[in-house]
């Protein structure tokens, strides 16, 4: 962590780095090498694209479109590509549907294979030895530590990713979301739910003005 370091160049309200960045941007814009709009677009794209939002879009579509869901479960790679998301060639995406009786959870026991085109980069716990080893041996206990208590009647399936095959969980659509639009549904879907260590929750206060 180097969070304390920022103060060292602090001059008045703006840091040296902030002034320097502003100067560089202004010069490049004045010279016609770049526009502020392009920079805005880039930042927005990366803030949105490389988080788990792509995966959430896939889930949202599957929840509202049964034929898409069917295609998604049959051939994850192609159905995800339909929405414009894809990764390296040769990596297949398999989408696993959670139901009231089956709960899927994803791991990579060997390293940290992860469906990054849809989920961004893996969280640090996903790469930890503890998670990789324990979720296979005692998934119910591990899920409980994540705050997910599953009834004994629910079968837990653990899927081990590898360089050819990446898994993503299609979480259950929560009850009480029947009135919600696809865009609103997308905003409910979390990364953890698509790894399978959480369920999708409906916010306690559904204020729709």
């Amino acid at each position: 962590m180097s969070g304390d370091h920022h103060d060292s160049h602090q001059a008045g309200t703006e840091s040296y780095a902030a002034l320097r960045t502003k100067a560089l941007e202004a010069l490049l814009v004045e010279k016609g090498l770049i526009t502020t709009d392009v920079i805005d677009t880039v930042v927005r794209a990366y803030e949105q694209d490389i988080g788990p939002l792509n995966g959430a879009r896939v889930v949202g579509r599957a929840w509202v479109d049964p034929t898409y869901k069917k295609r998604l479960l049959a051939d994850g790679t192609s159905a995800i590509a339909e929405l414009g998301f894809g990764g390296r060639q040769g990596t297949d995406m398999v989408v696993l549907e959670n139901t009231p009786t089956v709960h899927n959870v994803v791991v990579c026991t060997l390293c940290s294979c992860y469906p990054w085109p849809v989920l961004g980069l893996p969280p640090s716990w996903y790469k930890s030895y503890a998670y990789r080893a324990r979720v296979v041996r005692e998934p119910r206990v591990v899920l409980r530590e994540f705050g997910l208590e599953l009834p004994e009647s629910v079968e837990i399936r653990v899927w081990d990713s590898n360089s050819d095959m990446r898994y993503m969980v299609l979480p259950e659509r929560p009850a009480g979301t029947e009135h919600m639009s696809e865009a609103d549904l997308v905003s409910l879907v979390t990364r953890d739910a698509m790894i399978g260590v959480a369920k999708v929750q409906v916010p306690a206060i559904v204020g729709r003005g």
Binding site: H5, H6, S15, Y16, R20, I39, L121
Partner: protein
């Protein structure tokens, strides 16, 4: 239009990987996002291949560790960006210093054309 992110940028090696929280990018201050956008936009404009940037960032990181000067991730990022911009002849160190100094004493309005 939906700009796509480049996996070579989104998934750099751990040593120089973009700071994230819950999978999403984190910027501690607005200038960090600007510096990020500048570097990526110049790459997309064909000014340099991304490899040049990531290697520069790795070198900056290694140098920082050697000198025990723990600059933040985006301070190193900015340093890399400046060096590349200068090496490619986009700006000169003198004009960059001068403009920074102007902003520091509020002499130059950042928004004027």
């Amino acid at each position: 239009m939906r700009a796509a992110s480049d996996p070579r940028i989104a998934n750099m090696d751990e040593q120089v990987a973009l700071p994230r929280q819950n999978g999403e990018l984190v910027f501690a201050a607005p200038w960090e996002a600007r510096a990020f956008g500048l570097a990526v936009a110049l790459n997309e404009a064909g000014v340099y291949p991304w490899r040049d940037f990531s290697q520069g960032l790795a070198a900056e990181t290694a140098a920082g560790e050697q000198h025990g000067a723990p600059a933040s991730y985006y301070e190193r990022w900015l340093e890399t960006l400046e060096k590349l911009a200068i090496a490619k002849g986009l700006v000169t160190p003198a004009e960059l210093d001068a403009r920074t100094a102007e902003y520091a004493c509020g002499a130059h309005d950042a928004h004027e054309e």
